[in-house]
């Protein structure tokens, strides 16, 4: 958001460096049930982002002082692998990953029927294998599918995607270059059945008109992502099961 470049991110025909129009998201691939041990799992690719999510639970809540006698808690660990970015990322939690884990858990807690599992914990692990801008959205998109794959009752499946601004134009789903050299980024996640917002962040510089347009693009795209999430789950459960139990 702060870098400078001479690179033209959006050309005179409105084309972006990866050949997309302003309102197009990158190619998305979603697979449900990709791990053996986890109760539920998912793999998501959004452009060059490659993300795995795994769900364990509902299971006993550790540490125990976090137990809630009225409902389950959703705990999320977002983690970037050391080789996922161009410079090696120092392993372990940093402030960014703690913040992303927190807001992801809050977004999921709204849709999971936590009241069915008092004192339990539903643990979600998000691993970023390869990062190319938009990993928190890819991670949340994967986590929702993994929760469904784990058979955890939910009100809806949460999709997430970002809109933003680069070369002064509002764009859907920023890639790495647009994120680095652009002017704004707005990740958003919704409940598709009601269009309620469960995750929203923004940084950069946007007028009201630009922001309204970004929200419109992102909400529409969230519905597309949701269709792909549902499709992945249908594929997982309509074919004869191989490998896993």
């Amino acid at each position: 958001m702060s870098g400078h470049t001479d690179m033209v991110l959006v050309d005179e025909n409105g084309m972006r460096i990866d050949g997309r129009t302003a309102e197009e998201h990158r190619p998305i691939r979603i697979e449900a049930g990709v791990l053996h041990n986890a109760d539920g799992s998912a793999y998501v690719e959004i452009g060059k982002n490659k993300v795995l999510a795994a769900v364990y639970g509902p299971r006993e809540c550790h540490p125990r002082h976090l137990q809630n006698p009225e409902k389950a808690i959703v705990q999320v660990k977002y983690n970037m692998e050391a080789y996922s970015v161009s410079d090696r990322k120092r392993p372990g939690t940093d402030r960014r990953s703690i913040e992303i884990s927190k807001i992801t858990a809050e977004a999921l807690e709204k849709v999971v029927l936590t009241e069915l599992y008092p004192r339990a914990s539903i643990d979600v692990y998000i691993e970023i294998l390869q990062a190319n801008a938009g990993t928190r959205c890819a991670g949340l998109t994967a986590a929702s599918v993994a929760l469904a794959d784990a058979g955890i009752p939910m009100r809806d499946i949460v999709p997430a995607i970002a809109a933003g601004k680069a070369d002064g134009k509002v764009l859907l789903d920023l890639n790495k270059e647009e994120d680095n050299y652009g002017q704004a980024d707005v990740p958003i996640a919704i409940i598709p059945s009601t269009d309620e917002i469960v995750l929203l962040q923004m940084d950069g510089n946007m007028t009201r008109a630009e922001f309204d347009h970004a929200i419109e693009l992102a909400v529409n795209a969230c519905h597309e992502v949701h269709d792909l999430q549902v499709d992945a789950l249908k594929r997982r459960y309509s074919k004869p099961q191989e490998g896993s139990e």
């Binding site: 958001m1 402030r95 409940i191 469960v198 922001f211 909400v219």
Partner: protein
């Protein structure tokens, strides 16, 4: 934020008041509490501010010291923001390294200041590629009665505006005010039931389902946002928050000057 049990009678009382459009301290739903700002109270800091938002108090101190720039920004000064929720401020705060609440607070304040370009980091270069000024913003919650986000943002912004680069101390020329370009103001709203309330106090935060912080610049453009809490907000509610953040932001900018 912190989890404490709240009596149902108090919860019902707050909800009942909100139905009538008012709150425990007599405010309307879109009213900010009184803001008191005192700057320069810490002489050992290069800039400081104590901000009181009703009964919430946050102190921010600035330390500016020479250091090595990041490799990818050899000519830019460095901004670092930290927040601590110390046990003095509330019975639920515990000693120890910053937890996720403190980290989120610091990062949201940081985002507003960084993305608005408030501190002109290009002017913080001493020797290109070798030495730049590192500007540390450290915020401490001293007394917590809700809305630490806006109190911390105000404290940081006021402290930065009062900060002096201590160049003489390090033999780097004459002391000069920290170059500041604008005044980013955050406005936080909490959703209690289906009502959005500006500048929630502690009790209101405890019974709220969601939170939205919106930071605007002097032109009323959006520079940072953060939704928090396990609830959701509708698109209409988002629009209300955006409108109010611009209006209230402009009012607060007048108050703090």
């Amino acid at each position: 934020m912190s989890n404490e049990l709240m009596s149902e009678i108090k919860r019902d009382h707050i909800m009942h008041l909100l139905e009538k459009g008012t709150r425990q301290d007599g405010r309307g739903v879109a009213d900010f509490r009184n803001i008191k700002v005192e700057t320069g109270l810490i002489e050992s800091a290069d800039g400081s501010a104590r901000v009181q938002l009703g009964n919430t108090t946050v102190i921010a101190g600035i330390k500016i010291i020479p250091g090595t720039p990041f490799g990818d920004t050899p000519n830019l000064g460095v901004l670092t923001t930290g927040m601590e929720l110390i046990p003095m401020a509330h019975p639920t705060f515990e000693a120890g390294p910053p937890g996720e609440d403190a980290i989120e607070l610091a990062r949201v304040v940081d985002r507003g200041i960084r993305e608005s370009g408030m501190v002109d980091v290009e002017k913080l270069c001493i020797t290109p590629g070798e030495e730049v000024w590192m500007c540390y913003i450290d915020m401490y919650a001293i007394d917590h009665d809700g809305n630490l986000f806006d109190a911390a943002n105000l404290a940081a912004v006021c402290a930065l505006k009062s900060a002096i680069i201590p160049a003489e101390q390090y033999g780097k020329g004459e002391n000069a005010p920290l170059p500041v370009t604008c005044t980013p103001i955050s406005v936080t709203e909490a959703k209690v039931g289906n009502t959005l309330i500006v500048d929630p106090d502690y009790d209101e935060e405890q019974i709220s389902s969601a939170r939205l912080t919106v930071t605007t610049d002097d032109n009323g453009n959006f520079r940072a946002m953060q939704k928090g809490g396990c609830g959701s907000i509708t698109l209409d509610e988002l629009r209300t928050c955006l409108d109010r953040s611009v209006e209230i932001g402009a009012e607060i900018r007048k108050i703090i000057g």
